[in-house]
């Protein structure tokens, strides 16, 4: 599904990703952990097509195709989804209207007919249940004045609506209370299938009790320096990152 090979990327002349290798297969859940500033959000932004970053070398294949030639919207239509660490507020655009445009453009790309207002509303109601989000919230301007937790829920709701192949959840658990965490995790698990895959970026092992990863990677200083199973997450929870930093002091 996703093959990242020796990916190096920089912003404003500063190298952030220093050779990332990662392969994600359908049905898998990968967790990426790592200290602040190690490049986790940068990796997701580069994968989603953020133009401010320069890809210096390496390759990324998504569903067998090199993605560097395609725009963010093309990647999204192909089935790449990024749940933002900091969802953007867009005054004046309601979540409902925005999602209708998104869903229909994605559907058009996949050769599916547009959903009319009634069908769209029906789908929305179904998916709202998955993340237990209130319809009143969706009528408001996108994320404007939403609480931290509401924003994160809204990200997962959008994911449910867009039915992506690969979802990258960038710290979706941060700022969630324990009940919301369970709801979000449950949403992710409900949407999981043998054909799609998930990358969860998190600082907390706790989330991985609910979304069980097949692999746990540690990203440090722009590189994946360790890969293990969910036991690695426990170890990090207990020991912190100092031992990893020490191992890679001159990385």
């Amino acid at each position: 599904m996703l093959k990242v090979k020796n990916l190096k990327a920089s912003i404003e002349g500063k190298e952030i990703l220093k050779g990332i290798n990662l392969e994600v297969k359908p049905g898998e859940v990968h967790a990426i952990m790592g200290p602040n500033g190690s490049g986790k959000s940068t990796l997701s932004a580069v994968l989603a097509g953020r133009e401010e970053y320069t890809v210096d070398s390496g390759s990324v294949e998504f569903l067998g195709k090199n993605i560097f030639g395609s725009s963010p919207e093309e990647r999204a239509r192909e089935g790449l989804f990024l749940a933002f660490q900091y969802p953007i507020e867009i005054p004046g655009v309601s979540t409902t209207n925005f999602l209708r445009a998104a869903v229909n453009q994605v559907r058009a790309h996949r050769g599916l007919p547009k959903l009319d207002a009634v069908q769209f509303l029906k789908t929305m109601k179904e998916k709202m249940q998955i993340v237990d989000i209130d319809q009143a919230l969706l009528k408001r301007s996108l994320n404007e004045g939403f609480s931290g937790g509401e924003k994160k829920r809204n990200e997962i709701f959008q994911m449910a609506m867009l039915e992506p192949k690969l979802s990258i959840l960038d710290e979706t658990d941060s700022g969630l209370d324990i009940d919301a965490l369970k709801i979000v995790a449950n949403g992710v698990n409900t949407l999981k299938s043998a054909d799609n895959a998930t990358i969860v970026i998190t600082h907390y092992q706790r989330l991985l009790d609910f979304i069980i990863p097949d692999f746990v990677h540690v990203l440090y200083n722009g590189k994946i320096v360790k890969t293990g199973t969910k036991e690695l997450a426990y170890e990090l929870e207990e020991r912190g990152y100092d031992w990893i930093k020490a191992e890679h002091a001159n990385a």
């Binding site: 989603a48 097509g49 953020r50 133009e51 401010e52 725009s71 963010p72 919207e73 990647r75 999204a76 239509r77 990024l82 933002f84 969802p87 953007i88 867009i90 005054p91 004046g92 655009v93 925005f98 999602l99 445009a101 998104a102 869903v103 453009q105 994605v106 790309h109 301007s141 959008q158 867009l162």
Partner: protein, 436 residues
């Protein structure tokens, strides 16, 4: 050319002669002198002031960025008279209300108008309101207002009777038609809202034709005590059109006046909106939107004059500028010494879609009273990259993402148009304009 500063010394005046000649020649072309109406006095008085002062040029502080006289002097040829159109004008006229009056080059067209005025509102010739017109002939009046008065011919007065609540807007559609010849129009409208009235008046300016045209409109609005009037001006002119609009509003006690000024283009457009809050506990809301492209030039000058205590004013003007267009926003707020307990807010926001577009924004607050809450702010920027990326990351194409953001941005102003037909009309023009 600007005679104001030099008129005291004969010598300098002589040195200015070549320009002055040009000006008086230009004025002769612009001033229309129809025979046989009752305005002789006001017309001549206005003409003599304007002939002395000339039209404002670059040296005039108020018009330094919007030098209409220069364009007129260079390009406005011998005025051949507003000939009958080569275009099908009826096709240009939107249907927005059951009460529509259509003016072609400033003259009411009974044929194209369609109205069925409800009880409580009447339309008459402006000739019945002579004293009001004469009042405007002041040596300090705006030059273009004087020019309009000096050409006063037909014009209408809309009278809203005491306590009348009029739901359907009265829509005046002004077409300036230069399809056969250069055209000049001096539309004149007077709105009198009596006590306790409620009404919506809209003026729409449309241009047709490839030759240069000049629309010089004046609208005066009187809001009596306790009235609630909304005035919507929509300019959708083309790249051959010059437009000056002087809108003068007097607001009496406890009255609410809502102004909405929307502009979608024109070669050079200048809107002067002057609101005097003359009665206490009155309120003025000023909203504006300008969307420019190519070499268009749109200039909004607003004045809110707080003369008495306990009044509120709220102003929001937003611009979207593309191409190598120019926008100007100048917002004056005066709070006179007597006007204690005044709230006056002003905000001007701009999005520049191109590096060649410019906006010149200038708030001017002059406050003589001390118990005043007053604020102003302006922002100018590009479309927000983070927002754009967020939308695109959900599969929305770049173009539609931009439209979505611009639409939301403009809607903050447009949604304040209460009448649905007018709001939809404005949204429609906005979409075509930003979708280019």
């Amino acid at each position: 050319m600007n005679l104001k500063n030099v008129a005291t010394t004969g010598l300098k005046l002589n040195m200015q002669m070549p320009n002055a000649m040009e000006m008086s020649e230009l004025l002769q072309r612009l001033i229309q002198k129809p025979s046989g109406n009752n305005f002789g006095f006001a017309r001549e008085a206005a003409a003599s002031i304007i002939e002395e002062r000339g039209l404002p040029g670059r040296k005039n502080e108020e018009y330094k960025y919007t030098n209409l006289s220069k364009i007129l002097e260079r390009n406005f040829g011998e005025f051949a008279g507003n000939e009958e159109s080569a275009a099908d004008l009826s096709a240009l006229i939107p249907t927005l209300s059951e009460n529509q009056l259509v003016f072609i080059n400033g003259i009411l067209s009974e044929e194209l108008s369609n109205y069925n005025l409800p009880e409580g509102i009447s339309v008459s010739s402006i000739e019945d309101s002579k004293e009001l017109i004469a009042k405007d002939v002041d040596a300090k009046s705006d030059e273009f207002l004087l020019l309009n008065t000096s050409s006063l011919n037909t014009g209408i007065a809309i009278n809203i009777a005491k306590s009348a609540v009029i739901e359907t807007p009265v829509v005046l559609i002004h077409i300036t038609d230069s399809s056969k010849n250069q055209a000049v129009a001096h539309p004149r409208v007077l709105v009198n809202g009596a006590k306790n009235t409620q009404a919506i008046i809209a003026e729409i300016f449309i241009g047709v034709g490839d030759a240069l045209s000049f629309t010089n409109a004046v609208t005066e609005i009187n809001c009596a005590a306790n009235s609630n009037l909304s005035y919507i001006k929509i300019g959708n002119e083309n790249g051959n059109q010059l437009h000056v609009g002087n809108t003068q509003v007097n607001v009496a006690e406890k009255a609410v006046f809502n102004a909405m000024t929307v502009n979608f283009g024109g070669k050079m457009v200048r809107n002067n909106l002057h609101i005097s809050l003359n009665g206490s506990h009155s309120e003025a809301n000023l909203n504006g939107l300008y969307v420019t492209d190519n070499k268009e030039h749109i200039d909004n000058h607003t004045v809110v004059d707080h003369k008495v205590p306990n009044c509120n004013s709220n102003e929001l003007y937003k611009g979207i500028m593309n191409g190598s267009s120019t926008g100007i926003f100048n917002g004056k707020i005066y709070v006179r010494q007597d006007a204690q307990v005044t709230n006056a807010f002003q905000s001007n926001k701009n999005i520049l879609l191109s590096d060649n577009a410019t906006i010149n924004t200038k708030p001017q607050l002059e406050i003589w009273a001390d118990d005043v809450k007053c604020s102003h702010g302006c922002t100018t920027g590009k479309l927000d990259k983070e927002q754009l990326f967020y939308l695109r990351a959900r599969g929305i194409g770049e173009h539609s993402a931009k439209l979505m953001l611009l639409d939301a941005y403009a809607n903050e102003v447009i949604e304040r148009i209460k009448d649905e037909n007018l709001r939809t009309y404005v949204q429609g023009i906005l979409h075509t304009k930003i979708d280019e």
